[in-house]
Symmetry: C3
Subunit: 338 residues, 3 copies
Amino acid sequence: MTVDPRFYAPLGALTLGQVAELTGAVLDGESDLPVTGIASAANAQKGDLAFLDGDGKTAPEISANAGIFIINEANRKYVPDSSSTLVVRFPRHAHAVAALSMYRPRHLEWTGEARISPDAQVHEGAIVSPGAVVGPGAVIGEGTWIGPNVSIGPGVQIGRHCQIGANASVFCALVGDHVTLLAGARIGETGFGVLAAPDGQRDAPHFGRVILQDHVTIGANTCIDRGVFEDTILGERTKIDNLCQIAHNVVFGRSVVMAAFGGISGSVRVGNQSMLGGRVGIADHVEVGEGVSLAASSGLFRNVEDRETWGGTPAKPIRQWMREVAWLQKQANPKKNS
Amino acid sequence: MTVDPRFYAPLGALTLGQVAELTGAVLDGESDLPVTGIASAANAQKGDLAFLDGDGKTAPEISANAGIFIINEANRKYVPDSSSTLVVRFPRHAHAVAALSMYRPRHLEWTGEARISPDAQVHEGAIVSPGAVVGPGAVIGEGTWIGPNVSIGPGVQIGRHCQIGANASVFCALVGDHVTLLAGARIGETGFGVLAAPDGQRDAPHFGRVILQDHVTIGANTCIDRGVFEDTILGERTKIDNLCQIAHNVVFGRSVVMAAFGGISGSVRVGNQSMLGGRVGIADHVEVGEGVSLAASSGLFRNVEDRETWGGTPAKPIRQWMREVAWLQKQANPKKNS
Amino acid sequence: MTVDPRFYAPLGALTLGQVAELTGAVLDGESDLPVTGIASAANAQKGDLAFLDGDGKTAPEISANAGIFIINEANRKYVPDSSSTLVVRFPRHAHAVAALSMYRPRHLEWTGEARISPDAQVHEGAIVSPGAVVGPGAVIGEGTWIGPNVSIGPGVQIGRHCQIGANASVFCALVGDHVTLLAGARIGETGFGVLAAPDGQRDAPHFGRVILQDHVTIGANTCIDRGVFEDTILGERTKIDNLCQIAHNVVFGRSVVMAAFGGISGSVRVGNQSMLGGRVGIADHVEVGEGVSLAASSGLFRNVEDRETWGGTPAKPIRQWMREVAWLQKQANPKKNS
């Protein structure tokens, strides 16, 4: 994958030997092999450093082009023979250490007194309200309104005719045209990932982005996390209500509608024109087809085909769920329902 | 209805012919009839432009004083004979186009460097903390504390002895005395409404307000959306916990208590002294009486009479719900419970 | 208990007679007895003013050292004989009136134009981003990054190498080293407590703190309320996802993990290394052991022993819950499952 230099300053490639030294790993490979990037195992390309973690009981998805792995002993069996490997006890932590030696998140180096960075490009036809802050390298398009006390991070690109509501924040994101963020929306924060490290659990660093396509609307105080290595993407005209949570690496198609308190776990896919009722939750890696409806309060743990309607927790086809609700009511209340 | 000019600048009346031209509608009526306002069909008065949308299978509520309608063919049968009509394929979208030609939301024209607008009236006995922003036409009463990095929109009225917590935002709202908003509360954002337009789905513009009566308290990061045409209203001494969502046009009575993660859909009514437990959800247009209790995690889809206690999803009288829970447990675990 | 003077300015002790006068209470004790502090009945020490409220049907927890009580008639029977008492109709309200005469919350007196108070101590190796506000008496440690438009309240202590995300707010809190708050996190707001007063319901004032130990991470738009009299405490390396709610007086151990939309009611205890799935809710005063797992969407109303796994609403041991789900599905859908 390519880490976007607008959000993560490249600090230069490492050699395999340098990674071994940084992480205390046992090296099986050529010490001077260049490590030029970072990625998940599923998407790694030549030169990318990937990792395999966990107890080794499940075969991981591995890209055919992946060639450099940080692993623990339990996962050695999954690594292709031609690969270079670095063996450590906590592979994901070691990968994070190496990654942060190769890329520096720019938002943490943002200093100075200027509310609007002299290195930002704000179109003369854009409005930046009092109290709003725009970081270096950010670009704000024509006709866009940035509300009061908004925070726009370094390198963020915001298109034309957008409305960024009061006190919202946008980091590590590419935002199209006619996009509306209501007040307090949180775009591009680090997702929730806890990794094992020698001294206990730590946060997994994130190197991806959020991409909001044209005409997307995000509700007040809703959170859209950026991807770990890939991007979190919402397609054109997708509309998200207040107080929703969309985790890292989620991809929504076009014209999806999600009501308040929707909670979408990592790497979920939702197809075009699907409708998610209030308080819907979807477990990680679940795939939802096009034109699907999920009833309010559904808790979905399985994939759903195009144009189906599901409800309940755990969610199932809506008729089956309604049958269960009605049957239970009848059985448990015999007099009332006889 | 009357659109409040403090929040929406009136741009002048249109004629029926002008509306037809703006929206591409087929006109059945006098071209020079003045269109002097906008409203929902249920509340339209003489001169107001209303709309009827949808597939025409359900009879809409229509005010006896309504006389000008934007409709699609499917709804023609519901329009009183004496009315003027404008027929288009996407009536709600056409209505929005006309409405935005008659009223301009003031918060999007807020410019300048001044944190506290010279056109705001801040009482000398009020405190505006560092970083707080107060828009033109806003009024802040005696003894009120505006926290750091708060955003107060144009025209907002805040009474005496209020506390507006850090990083909160208040737009299109009238706030009484002794009102407390905790940090990050979002008052008066546009509600969630998706309308069909020729090029795909769009956000429905909102022209109403939020009204918070005396002694109301709103929790941290809670969102109270403003009404579409009418107002969203919380009665005296109503207390709302953190991270709740109250949608457009909701009306709460006096001394209602709602715990965290409560989610109230559009146009719901809740009577005085009712108590809503944590994570309660209520579907749109549901009416809840006075002194009602809803157990934590209830999902309510039906009206509830005064002083009843309900629970479960879908919610039902609490004894019935508890009977079902107990019966299921006993049946499914025969050994343990025999 | 000791009220932390960094957050609540001590206004001096009162005498029992003065408290009686302030609250209109009927005094049974020596009028010139000094009242030197405030506390809950469960934790009161010599000189502390405590209260007993409610209908008197449940015996309250009372500290052996408590000696001064504001009570109503219904609770007189629970007060030790040697105590001084003040009898009123609304004891919790009277206690609040007295408490606010003894301690003044400092955040409400924060004035001036300076974004960074001249009375704050910001380490030269810390970064305070544009738009961030730091109150008097606040301390920011070496290597800590304060994001744009953040609000740090008076007296707040933040350690070394912390990251405080954009538009977050921190009041009445002690924050350790290597703590991360994502954007919009709300630390140290008043918790949700509604008390009966002569003129109707009011908010209970809070005099406690939030304590976040080293390496704690708090997600975007998550709220951690401060304690009423005691503290709300999150132990080392505890990791909280976005949009969670943790109420007053909650204590989490070390390395707890809680996913999005978790809602923890007042005074709950959660032991080390427990894992709470998405949308878990826990009722007030429930105690959860170490190494416990709660499945996503659980609603927990009972204590859970160490290392158990529970699910469902109301939550029960996971196998029992799954048996019920499977049994119901089979019974209600006989053809499909036969």
